[in-house]
C-alpha cells in the first residue's frame, strides 16, 4: 500500500496494526474521486485514524481496540446519496462521526448511516448537521443497531438541522434498534431556523443583518470543520464552505 492514498485507484483501504503506519503518521486520509464506488476500510488496534470523506459511500469495519474519527462532508452535489455502514466488530472500539451537509438550489441530498454494534464495550458518537437552503431536499436516516452480546455499549447520536428557506425540506429519521441489555443509548433530532434572538443581539452590537446571519451559519458548521485535525484539509474544506455561505 502506498503512503499517499488518493485518487480513483482506491477501492479498498485495508488497515491493520501491522501496516497502518501511513495512517498513524499522517493521521489523516482523504478519500475522493473514486467515481462513487464504495470503499471498504478495515481498522484493527489503531485509534489514530481520521477519515475525511467527501460523500463517498463506505463501509468501515472496526476491530479490537480500534477507532476512527470520520468526517462526512456533503456539499455541492445536485443529487447524491451517501451511504455508510459501520461495523463495530471488536471490543473497546471508538467511533466518532461529524457530518455536515449543505443542500442548495434544488439539490437532493441523502445521508444514510447504519452503525452496527456487534461486540461489547464499544462507543459510537455521531453528530450530524444538515443545512437546507432554497428548494432543496435533505434526507437523513441514521440507524444505530445494537446486537445481542453488545452489552456495555455506549451509543449517542445527535442530529441538528438548519433550515434557511421556507421551501427547503429536511427529513430526519434517527432510529434505534437495541437487542442487548446494559447499554447506554440516546439520540435526538432538532430542526430550526436561524435564531431571531441571536440575530437581534448581534445587530444591537452593530453587525448588519446579512453578516449576522452569516456568522450564525458559520457557527453552525464550525463545530464540524474545526474538528478536522489535518490542517491543510481543514483549511481547504473551510474555504469551500465559506464560499458557499458567501453566496447564500
Amino acid at each position: 500500500m502506498s503512503s499517499v492514498i488518493s485518487g480513483s485507484t482506491i477501492k479498498t483501504l485495508q488497515i491493520d496494526a501491522k501496516n497502518s503506519f501511513e495512517i498513524s503518521q499522517d493521521g489523516c486520509y482523504q478519500l475522493a474521486g473514486t467515481n462513487n464506488k464504495k470503499i471498504d476500510i478495515y481498522i484493527t488496534k489503531d485509534k489514530n485514524v481520521e477519515i475525511v470523506d467527501l460523500s463517498i459511500d463506505c463501509s468501515i469495519h472496526l476491530h479490537l481496540d480500534s477507532g476512527v474519527n470520520l468526517k462526512m462532508i456533503s456539499l455541492k452535489y445536485k443529487v447524491s446519496n451517501t451511504i455508510y455502514e459501520v461495523f463495530i466488530n471488536g471490543a473497546g472500539v471508538d467511533f466518532n462521526l461529524d457530518s455536515i451537509s449543505i443542500a442548495q438550489a434544488d439539490d437532493n441530498i441523502g445521508i444514510y448511516s447504519t452503525v452496527h454494534h456487534t461486540m461489547p464495550n464499544s462507543q459510537s458518537y455521531q453528530y450530524i448537521k444538515c443545512i437546507g437552503t432554497d428548494s432543496s431536499t435533505t434526507t437523513f436516516e441514521g440507524k444505530v443497531h445494537i446486537l445481542k452480546g453488545a452489552g456495555g455499549t455506549n451509543a449517542y447520536q445527535q442530529n441538528k438541522n438548519l433550515m434557511l428557506s421556507d421551501e427547503a425540506t429536511i427529513l430526519a429519521r434517527p432510529w434505534l434498534e437495541v437487542y442487548a441489555d446494559d447499554v447506554k443509548c440516546s439520540h435526538g433530532s432538532t430542526t430550526g431556523m436561524l435564531s431571531e434572538d441571536e440575530i437581534f443581539y448581534m445587530r444591537q452590537r452593530g453587525i448588519p443583518l446579512k453578516s449576522a446571519q452569516k456568522l450564525q451559519i458559520e457557527g453552525f458548521i464550525l463545530g464540524v470543520t474545526q474538528k478536522i485535525s489535518n490542517e491543510s484539509l481543514r483549511e481547504k474544506i473551510s474555504k469551500i464552505i465559506f464560499k458557499i455561505i458567501e453566496k447564500l
Binding site: F200, Y201, M202, Q204, I207, L215, E218
Partner: protein, 251 residues
C-alpha cells in the same frame, strides 16, 4: 441626547407602553425602577429596535435623529447600547470574531479604518481588566456556557469595547452577588463621561448604592408614574411600590 415623547408600543395587539415621556441629557444617569411586568424591558427593546414590538404612537429623537426610523444596527452605530436582561448564547461564534465584527462595522459607519489586530488585542486586554472578566471566557463562543454573573460582566465588557453614547442596562444587577455587583458598577462608573449617558433599569435599590443616579423614574403599567432625584430609590426600598401605585390611582 434622547427625547421620548408619548411613546406607545404593543405586542400582539396588547398595549404594553402607554405613553412614555423621558428626556436624557449628556452626562446623566437615569434609573428606571418598577415592579415586574411594568414594561421596563419592553421600553429598552423598543429603543433598541426589536421588531416584535409595534410602536403605535409617539416619537423618539436620539442625537437629533428620528430613532424609530433606523434599523437595529444603525441605532448601534449611532451609539445606542443595550445591556440585555437575558444575554443570548451564540454557539459557534467566538467572542473575538463577534466583537471585532461589531467594532469594525461601527468604525466603517464613522468612516474609520478597521481596527488592527494588535490594537484589538490590546483593547480586549484593557477592557476585560475593567470588569475583571476571565480572559478564558473571551476565547469561547459568545455567552456559551457562561454563568449568569459572567454573562452580565460580559455585557459591561462589550459596552466598554464599543464605547457607546447611550447605554441602557436592563437589570444588569439581577443574579449578581455583592462582589460582582461592585465590579459591574465600577465598570459603569469608569466608563461614565460628560459626553455619554446611562439608563439603568433595576428593581433593587442595591445597585444604586454604587451607580448613583441623577434621576429615578418609576415605571408602572406602561407609564412613568413618578420621577424624582436619587432619594426616591431609598424611599422605594423602605416602603415598596404599593403606596406610589395607590397615590397614582387616586389622582
Amino acid at each position: 441626547m434622547l427625547y421620548i415623547n408619548n411613546l406607545h408600543a404593543s405586542i400582539e395587539e396588547r398595549e404594553i407602553l402607554k405613553g412614555i415621556n423621558l428626556t436624557v441629557n449628556k452626562g446623566e444617569v437615569h434609573a428606571i425602577m418598577g415592579p415586574n411586568g411594568s414594561g421596563k424591558s419592553t421600553l429598552a427593546s423598543v429603543l433598541a429596535g426589536k421588531e416584535k414590538f409595534t410602536v403605535t404612537e409617539g416619537t423618539v429623537i436620539f442625537e437629533s435623529q428620528n430613532l424609530l426610523d433606523m434599523p437595529i444596527e444603525k441605532r448601534a452605530h449611532e451609539g445606542l447600547f443595550l445591556g440585555f436582561q437575558y444575554p443570548v448564547e451564540i454557539p459557534g461564534v467566538s467572542m473575538a470574531n463577534f466583537l471585532k465584527s461589531a467594532i469594525n462595522e461601527q468604525r466603517t459607519y464613522r468612516g474609520e479604518a478597521p481596527i488592527s489586530a494588535s490594537d484589538f488585542l490590546k483593547k480586549m486586554r484593557e477592557k476585560s481588566a475593567i470588569v475583571d472578566i476571565d480572559p478564558k471566557l473571551i476565547s469561547r463562543s459568545v455567552n456559551e456556557g457562561f454563568s449568569g454573573g459572567e454573562k452580565k460582566r460580559n455585557e459591561i465588557f462589550q459596552m466598554a469595547m464599543l464605547n457607546p453614547k447611550l447605554s441602557i442596562l436592563d437589570e444588569t444587577d439581577s443574579g449578581l452577588d455583592i462582589d460582582a455587583l461592585r465590579v459591574v458598577a465600577n465598570g459603569v462608573t469608569h466608563l461614565k463621561s460628560s459626553d455619554n449617558a446611562t439608563i439603568v433599569i433595576t428593581h433593587y435599590q442595591r445597585l444604586l448604592d454604587y451607580i448613583v443616579p441623577d434621576f429615578v423614574h418609576v415605571l408602572y403599567n406602561g407609564r412613568i408614574i413618578r420621577s424624582a432625584g436619587k432619594e426616591l430609590a431609598l424611599e422605594l426600598e423602605e416602603r415598596g411600590y404599593d403606596w406610589l401605585i395607590k397615590e397614582c390611582e387616586n389622582e
